[in-house]
């Protein structure tokens, strides 16, 4: 099995994707809503609205979805969305978790693809189902229990990828704030590698640590961060996929920035 992500490839650039589509050597997945997909999409793309995946993201169920999209262990997969890469990241991470490592993110969003006037169509491709094996990768998943014990360790960095205001109001104790917006540039879903490395190094996020990312509820923003970290060579990263929503529901401790009514500065 090829391991592109392990070799450091996190995103697929526009030009490469266009030639892979011409060569029919890629399965493109569009993670937008069905209506949007039906209007137009990148040629040959199949639709997997994130909600469909989240409605039951048990490994067995996701495996069925993969099979129905014609993905086997050898298929090269590129995922895109129109939500700065966060939804695409959640899908890519799930595939990776199931043992499919040849999955990358399109470097840009569908809006940007359209604004560049690149090809799109409304054809829905016919797919031959395939068989993917299940090879779970628990090393990239953090559960609440795992997080609770891991975060006491010195070599673990917990990253909150929600917006700064959400973080100030409430977060998991010990987390540091790295808002998802920080990860992108104006037209790419992730910063260039050197840029990202410098930013993370400044924050003391280095490869000597195990990193766990989380966000608000379903692991999308933190999914993007998971790939951002990998793109900078930080591969010892786990996604706390159930994120802050579960943490609060479990009534685990939270912390806030005291003595300031910072929310009043957020121009409402």
């Amino acid at each position: 099995m090829r391991c592109l992500t392990d070799s450091g490839k996190i995103t697929t650039d526009i030009d490469s994707l266009r030639s892979e589509i011409r060569d029919k050597s890629v399965r493109v997945i569009d993670v937008r809503r069905e209506d949007d997909y039906k209007q137009d999409h990148i040629p040959t793309a199949v639709n997997l609205p994130l909600a469909n995946l989240l409605s039951d993201d048990s490994p067995e169920s996701v495996l069925k979805l993969m099979n129905s999209m014609g993905i086997d262990n050898e298929t090269s997969v590129v995922v895109y969305d129109d939500t700065f890469g966060a939804l695409a990241s959640r899908v890519a991470w799930t595939f990776e978790y199931l043992g499919h490592s040849d999955v990358t993110l399109l470097e840009t969003t569908y809006s940007n693809w359209k604004s560049l006037e690149l090809e799109s169509d409304s054809k829905i491709p016919e797919i031959q189902p395939k068989e993917h094996t299940l090879n779970l990768q628990p090393n990239i998943l953090a559960t609440a229990d795992y997080l609770q014990s891991a975060k006491e360790r010195n070599d673990v960095i917990l990253i909150d990828n929600r917006e700064r205001l959400n973080f100030l109001e409430q977060h998991i104790p010990g987390a540091i704030s790295l808002p998802y917006r920080t990860l992108a540039t104006k037209d790419k879903i992730l910063r260039p590698k050197d840029d990202m490395k410098r930013l993370l190094e400044n924050r003391g996020i280095t490869e000597n640590s195990e990193i766990i990312t989380y966000c608000g509820s379903v692991g999308t923003l933190s999914g993007l961060a998971y790939y951002a970290l990998k793109s900078a060579g930080l591969s010892n990263t786990k996604l706390y996929v159930r994120s802050f929503k579960e943490w609060k529901n479990l009534q685990k401790p939270t912390e806030k920035q005291e003595d300031a009514s910072y929310w009043d500065l957020s121009a409402e």
């Binding site: 526009i14 030009d15 917006e163 700064r164 920080t182 400044n202 920035q257 009514s261 009043d264």
Partner: protein, 602 residues
Amino acid sequence: MTVSNLKQSRPDTAKPKINWSRVEEADNFAKTVKLYRQGKYDEDSFRRFRLQHGAYGTRMTGDYAMVRIKIPAGEIYPNQLEKISQLSEQFSIGSAHFSTRENIQLHWVVLEDVSEIFRGLTEVGLTSREACGNTIRNVMCSPLSGVCPDEEFDSTPYALATARFFLRNPMVQNLPRKFKFNFTCCEKHGMVRMVDVGLIPQIREVDGTTQRGFKIFLGGGLGNKSFVGYQLEEFTPEEDLVYTSMAVLRIFDRLGDRKNMARNRMRYLVNDMGWEKFQNLVLKERAIVRATQSVITQLEVIHTPNEIKRPIRITDESGTSITDGYARWLKTNTVKQKQANYRSIFITLEAGDITASQLNALADLIRDFSSEGKARFGFVQNVALRYVHEDDLPRLYSNLLESGLAKSGALTMTAPIGCSGTTSCNLALTNSHRLAKEIQRKLLELKFDEDDDLSDSSIKISGCPNSCGQHGIATIGFFGGGGRVGKDMYANYQMSLGGRSDGDTMLGLTCLRVPAKRVIPVILKIIEIFKQNKKSDDTLQSWIHRVVNNNEDTEIKSINDIKKVLEPLTIPPTKEEDPDFYLDYGDDTSYHTKTGKGECAA
């Protein structure tokens, strides 16, 4: 070429003329933060370094900073606004804050991310260098300079040249205290007597030739103790501008108090020494400076005129229907320029707050409506689009409405100033920021912006005695403190009346203490007694001016008489009667005063 390079961006009508930034300062800052975290840089030196680069501390935490971006002369370009928008989403709280000194601030920035903001700013030529610390702060200029019907000439190029001359200049890297320059257009638009150096452009005829120069005011300033500045001489010719500035700075550097942080602004030096002595020293020092320059030092004043070009309509839906509220907005937010057919339009922001998406919208509006292709920050946490053709005003108004930037009353008393207060400042005692918003909402609801009697008055609020909200020059000014009933505390403001910053500059006189939750009723009561006692051509400002100077002949003769009328409104209820009284605005827990160490004087 790859497809990614093909994307067409919207052409900018104007690009910044001056690059204020230096990318190596970003690297250096990042490196220094690391050394500091490793304990290799002591606390005090690091703080000085951080402030010199424009990163201020944040309330009760060392992990966050506020980055104060300087906008010299208040001139800002669309691409710069877009960059600040992006940086606010990446590293701050998705909004930015306009200060009263033509800075724009990003709050709650992780200290380790500050260098990334610097890096982003270099892409658009902006800097926060020397926005804090004991150096020359942002050089201000009136938002109407260049378009004001009453000005003798446009002082903007001189403000920019002064900013450029002193930025990173070794002679101002370690002054006894911060130092501020304000350029203006005319007496009425003011603010020159409330600052270390204030300048009004002036033209003189000498033997049939006209000569440019300035009226220079020295030694004014607002703060814990405020002073009104003195005029140095009748006329200072333009070539003496730089020598005069240098002379004043050299005297301040040499004689300013470096020990007593509480009184080391230049205004104290002037006050202690006496104006005449100080004036003499400046004139002598100027002669020395002039005589000892090894080369002729002059400011690099860029006189190339700005290109004025009305933006081309791509889709011209002529005959835009006049929206509700347009007349009100036109009256209270726009002024005619000296250039025929053009107006300057002012955007008021609640206590200076603007969201990331509004910053982007503002950039588009400049491109689409301003014939000079840039905007100007104002003195009161606002921003002006100038050179808007009168025919374009209705369309501009409906665009402003869409972005939530069309609030009326920008040029009236209904647009109060509020510093950031307890929302982020270490020194603040009250949430002045939120109070300013509450007042604005209330006064607009009452349509006071349409009342001509109130248009030349102002309300300004500071969260502590230190005057960042400029309460001393407000018609009705407030600064925050704590009040107490038994062991229960409440947010309380000291109110002053009659302050102004125009040709009749004076500091407001103390009236009485007003609990935060009684400030709005008190303002309304003042307006009510004004209406009962005014003469037919009075404005609130002119009436209060007479009262505080004891020149009024009706039943309200003095500030004491006003105090008597207001006092019943300020009596604290018990906590049982009115628990809300004991909460500050924007807070749902019992009020208590809590401050950290200030850095203004660091």
